[in-house]
Subunit: 553 residues, 2 copies
């Protein structure tokens, strides 16, 4: 399990010394030695990621990996000198997100400025719940939230706070909305409330909206999924129809979630039109711009977030399109004071009217100072730097879309609205058009092809990207590849290579499917799937067979 026997430089805390004085070795000298060694490991890790042929991941199943990593936690510590080989093992088997071929999620690798932001947060070990223990970091959060909210057009009093990811920003939005609109629920709960609150989101909206409605006691059945058009955008006519239906059922329309950048296709709901409807019906208007809100930094694409100024609350995650380290998510509001007003526990018990005690507006207590990462990134790169990053990514997305469109064996699903390129590989011999007479069988076949190619690609480890299910219009599509082109290190050569990789992995796939493949039972869910009889010999087979339609941010 130990990669090599190299040790950390001599510090006061060897395992022997740890035995003698286990707590007394946490000084500047030790920090110096450890950070120096860690730095070398980091530089090597990043350097490796950029080498030709570098693997994104040396993928192992949980069972294999348990044999390779020492996971035992004991009475006796291994001391500082035992740490080095452990860290090497962690790096060895982790996904290297610095590799431009990591295109699996809406985040990519971070950057050196991001890394040192995290080092700063770690060093300070601060807590951004009250000003007096995090004065500078609190002001940074205040400043960057306000600046961002103003860029989105949310007005003079706008601002926001960070949450532990986009889902928790969306959660806080819904809690704030409910506490603001129906304050009696805060103290009394839903007992005797009588109204049935309804949430609207598109069928392509992120699942956190449903999880939040579930958590808040609204019930997942009371989240109305508004159908999307053929480009994956919420249909306005359906939204109005569904709101009117709620009203006729004597339900209470409460919260509309529009998505600026959907998870799979990267589509943008028509924000302005939805905002007008929200206003007309007096419904809270939330925009989940976790992914696409960052396009406000792009001169060419900011029109996609047109209408953002109509939002009551807006989620934006700089850890996605802007490269801040995971996690960095903002919830912004037209009136930054609404968080404390709606969510504080009451008159002057814990927090006392100091608007800089940001924890008061949350439903948590201690808070990581995540905003610092975005603040420092913005400082260094500027709007122009962030803009250039996005323009580059958009150019790469366009390039890949074109590659795919022009290739006889590939079929693009839609022209990418932002940075996701979604497509099928269709082997020679399989018809390319979707509308087949026996569509279901065709869908199953093409889905199996997608999964099998994906499995082969993961196993090789040269690229990492995901596949996804989707209902577009009224059609359930066969599983397709979703490639996210986000990192500034991606260039045309990587994308050429990607297409070649898929093509090469797809070689003979139809023969595999129709010749060697048989219908077997997937023992995990009992449903018959098409599988290759040779697949059982693969150490990695579990990751594809059991994953139908997995997709997430």
């Amino acid at each position: 399990m130990q990669e090599n026997s190299a040790n950390f430089p001599r510090v006061c805390c060897t395992s022997q010394e740890l035995h003698e004085k286990p707590i007394l070795c946490q000084d500047a000298t030790e920090l110096d030695a450890l950070v120096s060694t860690m730095k070398d490991l980091m530089v090597e890790h990043v350097d490796n990621s950029r080498k030709p042929g570098a693997l994104v991941v040396d993928y192992k199943s949980p069972e294999e990996l348990k044999k390779l990593v020492d996971l035992e936690l004991s009475e006796e510590g291994i001391g500082i000198d035992g740490l080095m080989p452990l860290l090497q093992t962690v790096l060895r088997y982790s996904v290297n997100t610095w590799n431009p071929r990591f295109m699996d999620k809406l985040y990519a690798g971070t950057n050196p400025v991001g890394v040192i932001s995290e080092m700063l947060i770690a060093l300070l070990n601060a807590n951004s719940h009250v000003y007096h223990v995090s004065p500078v970091l609190t002001l940074m959060e205040y400043a960057v939230s306000a600046r961002l909210a103003k860029m989105l057009g949310l007005g003079e009093n706008s601002g926001g706070i960070t949450c532990a990811g986009g889902s928790f920003s969306n959660q806080l939005a819904m809690i704030t909305a409910r506490n603001h609109m129906f304050p009696e629920i805060k103290a009394q709960g839903y007992n005797q409330f009588g109204k049935k609150l309804i949430v609207y989101t598109s069928s392509a909206g992120h699942y956190s909206i449903v999880k939040t409605a579930m958590a808040l006691g609204l019930g997942s059945d009371n989240v109305v999924k508004v159908p999307c058009d053929d480009e994956g955008r919420m249909r306005i006519d359906d939204l109005v129809r569904l709101i009117n239906r709620s009203i006729s059922l004597e339900e209470t329309p409460f919260f509309i979630n529009a998505t600026a950048g959907t998870t799979v296709l990267g589509a943008f709901d028509p924000l302005r039109s939805i905002g007008e409807i929200a206003k007309r019906y007096n419904i809270w208007y939330h925009i989940d711009g976790s992914w696409g809100g960052s396009l406000i930094f792009s001169e060419n694409k900011k029109h996609l977030v047109d209408g953002s100024e109509m939002a009551d609350t807006f989620t934006l995650n700089p850890h996605k399109m802007l490269g801040a380290p995971q996690q960095c998510s903002f919830l912004l509001a037209r009136d930054h004071r609404i968080f404390a007003r709606s969510n504080s526990l009451g008159a002057g018990y814990l927090f006392h009217g100091n608007e800089y005690d940001l924890g008061n507006g949350t439903v948590g207590c201690g808070r990581r100072s995540d905003s610092v990462k975005f603040f420092l990134g913005w400082k260094v790169f500027g709007i122009r730097g962030y803009g250039a990053r996005i323009e580059h990514a958009l150019k790469m997305a366009k390039y890949l879309a074109k590659l795919v469109s022009n290739h006889p064996r590939f079929q693009l699903i839609i022209e990418p609205p932002s940075l996701q390129i979604c497509f099928w590989y269709i082997p020679e011999g399989l018809p390319a058009e979707l509308e087949k007479r026996d569509y279901n069988q065709y869908k199953t076949k093409l889905s199996e092809i997608t999964k099998e190619i994906h499995r082969r690609i993961v196993q090789r480890g040269k690229f990492l990207f995901d596949y996804a299910p989707l209902t577009l219009g009224r059609l359930e599509l066969p599983l397709f590849f979703r490639v996210v082109v986000n990192a500034p290190s991606v260039n045309e050569a990587h994308l050429d290579e990607l297409v070649e990789e898929i093509e090469s992995m797809g070689s003979g796939i139809l023969e595999w499917l129709e010749g060697e493949a048989v219908i077997v039972d997937d023992n995990r869910n009992g449903k018959p799937v098409i599988a290759n009889i040779d697949r059982a010999s693969s150490v990695n087979n579990n990751i594809c067979v059991v994953r139908d339609g997995f997709i997430d941010k």
Copy 2:
């Protein structure tokens, strides 16, 4: 605002180059240069913190600080070479938690192993929601949660996951409990549910329980605050009485939160007795051991968490007593599968039965790999190392309690159950006993003394600790100091110094109170307070006047 004009070592990304190619400079060379420079700043910061007379904080009000830190976020970036002075300014005005005299919160500074854990997380920029993008980190979370849960006696199938702080662990506990016990609420919400769910916690329990009940739509009024005894522990007789009262009112007792280590006093509720009551009435049993759960690592004090094995869910934050960097909080359960079972959105849509996809059991999506910090810490220090850390802290707490007890001008509130030492400074001339004929006036006076001394101490910046309100038994106590002795770097000399500091700051305080002080209006909340006429000249006066009874983790 710029501390000096030193620059980062020459890297590819000066502001000039940034202007030309703003996105193309995120490679290993740049990382090397930045981390090296950051390391020097870090070592200096830690080194400074240990020097005699080092300030914990050079405290500035928000208005002052805004003039000292450049908070402007512009179109053009400052580039890498502008970053160095900015970082120096941040360090200059931030609270230095490495200083042993930081005794303000339940966390203290972290340690070098903590720092490099965060560097690892930053480098990997992973996401512990699904296994395939964070294989090693996921296994570490799995392993350390299971090991910890087993130490708490939660049994063969026990385990857990990390959440974004203790409040969110408590939130997930309550969501999980509700979804498990009343699964119909998941889909339907509380509409037609009919039952009024009641939560029980002690009057000294953490406010996150109330915030969660509010967020979940149970209502803060339906959180029953069970009175505490004179040592700050939940009274069993009152708990039983209040449960029976709920039943007689046809309410549904649902969730008991016992606290292992309260926020202010560090008291431990009688966990076993409460567990027996929970069992008898079939109520979900949650233990909030955010603070005190870590005593499981202490041979001498683990008896305080006796009964932990009766919990259905248990919160424990290694970022407090064990020195992991903020934030690192675990929610543990008797059956680790309960999270996915209770909180998953349903059959096979996003996650597919892979028990290693830990995100499935949360109400979030992307997740920081916080568990790594505890995993690596445990590896290095072992149970023995963590135990020794706690023993040292307990010894220091005892030492300070004794100092305070033996001092004629100090009065201890209770013998510290763990690491909080709570006491008054009572100036000569003010009676020392609490039961005064005119108790309210006495209470106001002593509270003002506490706040004024605290204000003076913060202004000096040599120490940072907080003050707190408390109702003990049935008596509302005057505000008192709460000093948390947690960091391994604290020694007897620091505590001697602390007592001297308070004494010296308390010199002449009664004259200040009775001679120079006048009743003025606090313009923030309009309530009259006792204030010193000279105080208006102080730049820092706002931080005390407006903070009655602030206390938090």
